[in-house]
């Protein structure tokens, strides 16, 4: 009797366990075979795109998805150089204010309507229209951007700018300048103000979306260029990095963005995975308040230089970033037009101490802040920085931290008079690969609230160099101005220059051809089974 009872109990427990686990059997993915031509490529990303409307794009991951469906006139190659896409060539008028693009002929949108100069004008006008929901024209709009667009004939379109703007073609690589079918804005669920399902000329077209879960795109069989290898691509939304890692390890995804940084070394050792440290144009820095009233010693360039010598960037990259960054050799990423090496602040604690001593800054107090969860290992890096600064004899209060929206409004994006922090960690990723975008960080017109020049750095000489480089139409001259300007910034040290981060993503060994662009996009469009 007693035995029988025990058996019954055991059976009940086993039944419960089976009930919990048993439903999976039939539908399990066979991960051992890997994807084949014609299959679906499954990509796991961390963020759920707020919108797929090209005009409202602000994040690279959402932009990467939109890029697959809607194409721009100009694009980037893997080195970051400009490459024709829907435009085959472009010229700028002698006044530097007008730009003419020649369009590729015979290209159709995925709704069958022709891509022509009228469609380009329509798309850009829509981007500039204040009634387009959440449209962010950036440099293409405003008082300095596009004044008006003229469709000259079917294959030529002219842009007239308010002011001379040398990197205009580079700025046209941004996803928000993508060309969409004019007819599609009236096709439900789209409206002229808001596009939910973009219709462009891309290698893929929109298939379906479940908010928070996935976005699926189907290959465009009539694509004008190299056709895609996978019939469909599904971007799954998986917010936790550890869950994305589990997905790619268990065969539930073929490509994942941003694995947990601390697991990268072990994933690199796993032969069934390929960890790609994609390029990025994002610099990570400790921004110094150069007009600091609470710690006026930071107004001295030699004190700021000393802080640069006090930090062992290589050790931080190795031990905190797990190798996913390179130290800066100038105040910007090497992929930007206008980059030139300016030197390096090697780790030299003795020199740092001596410089602080002679500047009367030995033992000074500073307040440090960093966001949590905005950049790879952000608060961890800030803690390491605080440690080095303490080693240099500073009294460091912090790092104080907050989530990104709170951080932005409390520490970073505040006018000088309200600033309550001496040092803060920030990343900066140019929207397109031109030094003009990086120098917004030291252009005094960009101090909050106008922009995000949060070092409050003010140098009239630099300001005029920035303006000159932006309006010059001679690339050689621009490049040379940026190089001299970079040296000024490097020596004045409004930042503790930390590193240029990489953008890690992982594919299974059964997928190839997923290149990374220097703007943190990893292009799955032409991915191919290995």
């Amino acid at each position: 009797m007693r035995l029988r009872r025990r058996v019954v109990t055991l059976l009940m427990l086993a039944g419960l366990a089976l009930a919990a686990c048993g439903t999976g059997g039939g539908q399990q993915q066979t991960s051992s075979s890997g994807p084949k031509h014609g299959d679906t490529l499954r990509v796991a990303i961390g963020i759920d795109p707020d919108t797929l409307d090209p005009a409202a794009q602000t994040t690279t991951t959402a932009g990467q998805i939109v890029d697959m469906m809607a194409e721009t006139l100009v694009t980037l190659d893997t080195k970051g150089a400009l490459k024709p896409l829907l435009a085959t060539s472009w010229t700028t008028g002698s006044d530097g204010l007008s730009w003419t693009f020649t369009l590729r002929q015979g290209v159709k949108f995925t709704d069958g309507t022709p891509m022509n100069a009228q469609a380009v004008k329509f798309s850009i006008d829509r981007l500039l229209d204040p009634n387009t929901f959440k449209a962010v024209p950036g440099v293409l709009g405003g008082k300095t951007g596009i004044d008006h667009v003229v469709a000259v004939d079917d294959t030529h379109v002219q842009f007239f700018l308010h002011t001379k703007f040398a990197p205009f073609a580079a700025a046209m690589t941004q996803t928000n300048a993508a060309i969409i079918s004019p007819a599609s804005v009236n096709a439900a669920p789209n409206t002229p103000a808001k596009i939910v399902q973009p219709v462009g000329t891309g290698p893929y077209k929109f298939q379906d979306r479940v908010a928070g879960d996935h976005i699926t795109m189907a290959a465009n069989k009539d694509y004008w260029g190299t056709k895609a290898n996978y019939d469909t691509q599904t971007y799954k939304i998986v917010p936790e990095a550890a869950s994305r890692e589990a997905l790619v390890k268990s065969g539930g995804a073929d490509v994942i963005a941003l694995p947990p940084a601390n697991d990268i070394p072990s994933m690199q050792a796993d032969s069934s995975l390929k960890v790609i440290l994609g390029p990025s144009d994002r610099t990570i820095q400790i921004v110094i308040n150069t007009q600091d009233a609470t710690q006026p010693l930071l107004q001295k360039p030699e004190v700021r230089q000393a802080l640069n010598y006090a930090i062992d960037k290589n050790a931080i990259i190795k031990n905190v970033m797990f190798g996913t960054a390179v130290p800066l050799s100038g105040p910007m990423s090497t992929s930007l037009f206008g980059y030139c090496p300016t030197g390096s602040y090697g780790y030299d604690p003795a020199k740092a101490k001596q410089m602080l001593q002679s500047a009367g800054a030995a033992g000074m107090s500073v307040k440090l802040a960093a966001p949590t969860g905005r950049y790879t290992q952000d608060i961890q890096v800030a803690n390491a920085v605080a440690g080095y600064l303490r080693d240099a004899g500073l009294k460091v209060d912090g790092p104080a931290t907050a989530d990104w929206p709170t951080y932005l409004s409390t520490y970073a994006n505040v006018p000088l008079a309200q600033s309550k922090i001496d040092l803060h960690l920030l990343g900066w990723a140019p929207a397109y690969l031109d030094a003009q975008q990086q120098f917004l960080q030291w252009y005094s017109t960009q101090m909050p609230p106008a922009g995000l020049e949060t070092s409050y750095y003010k140098n009239p000489q630099l300001d005029s160099m920035i303006e000159q480089a932006s309006s010059s139409t001679d690339p050689a001259q621009r490049s040379q101005i940026y190089c001299s300007a970079a040296k000024i910034v490097w020596n004045d040290a409004p930042w503790i220059f930390l590193y240029n981060q990489k953008y890690p993503y992982v594919t299974t060994s059964k997928v190839t051809n997923v290149p990374g662009l220097p703007n943190e996009k990893f292009v799955t469009t032409w991915a191919s089974p290995a």
């Binding site: 009940m12 009930a19 999976g24 707020d50 709009g141 869950s243 539930g252 929206p405 922009g451």
Partner: protein
Amino acid sequence: MLTYLVRRVLVAIPTVFGVATVVFFLRTLLPGDPAIIIAGPQATPEAIANIRRQLGLDQPLWQQYLSFLGGLVHGDLGISTRTGQPVIQEIATRAPYTAQLAVASLVLAVLVGVTLGVLAATRRSTVGDLGISSGAVFGVSMPVYWLGLMLIVVFAVRFRVLPAAGTDQGLASLVLPTVTLALFSMGLVTRQTRSAMLEVLGQDFVRTARAKGAGRRAVLIRHALRNALLPIVTTIGLQFGILLGGAVLTESIFAWPGVGRLLVDSIGSRDYPVVQGVVLLLSVAFITINIVTDLIYAYVDPRIRYS
């Protein structure tokens, strides 16, 4: 009974109204400007001002509050500032996922919890009781986040019998998030059932039932468990609220597109209309469950009569 129900519903209305008001004004304590977040770091002040105008954030707070209340009366919760979609629609696409997860977890927690609790009570102070009680403590004390990841590592990565995350594998996708979310409640229900049963099993009427020769199963289920149900039902009712709250973490770990994650995403992007909508929905759900629990009391214990 009906009068009671009507009274409870009427009392619930000002509660929901109060929640709506508190949630609306909590935003003033939350730093961060939605227009700046939406516009991105490179935005010009004009672009930010334009977005603020589009979202109605340029209106005075009291005016925003009045239009929020006005909309609420008409069942309109406004437009999500993140996606531009109606909040009702945002919630409607997400709520079924959370409901599915919460109900599955509750069913699992109750079935397993009550069964184990009864088993433990009838085997008081044996190895089995010790095992079940320890398991219950384990369930109550494991952090959801750690537990979820461990289950993923074992069942998805190591043995590859269940998907790691997502919803694309049908019922199989539901298993790990359900177990993760259920374990805490399962532990509580087990402990509650065990102690309620122990109390009842020691009472005279159970001895009487045994003495008159009722079968072991009849004694346990018809006499003991029925009388122990009241505190168990209370625990279960409370669990439902805890499950809805626990869904926030579970949904993030398992990439489950429910309202918990919608809430997290919305707070992260300062999408006030959606935050308000989700909190309202959760409070209405909680109030409803409380009323239902009270009604179940009357069914379980015929001595309780509402009027």
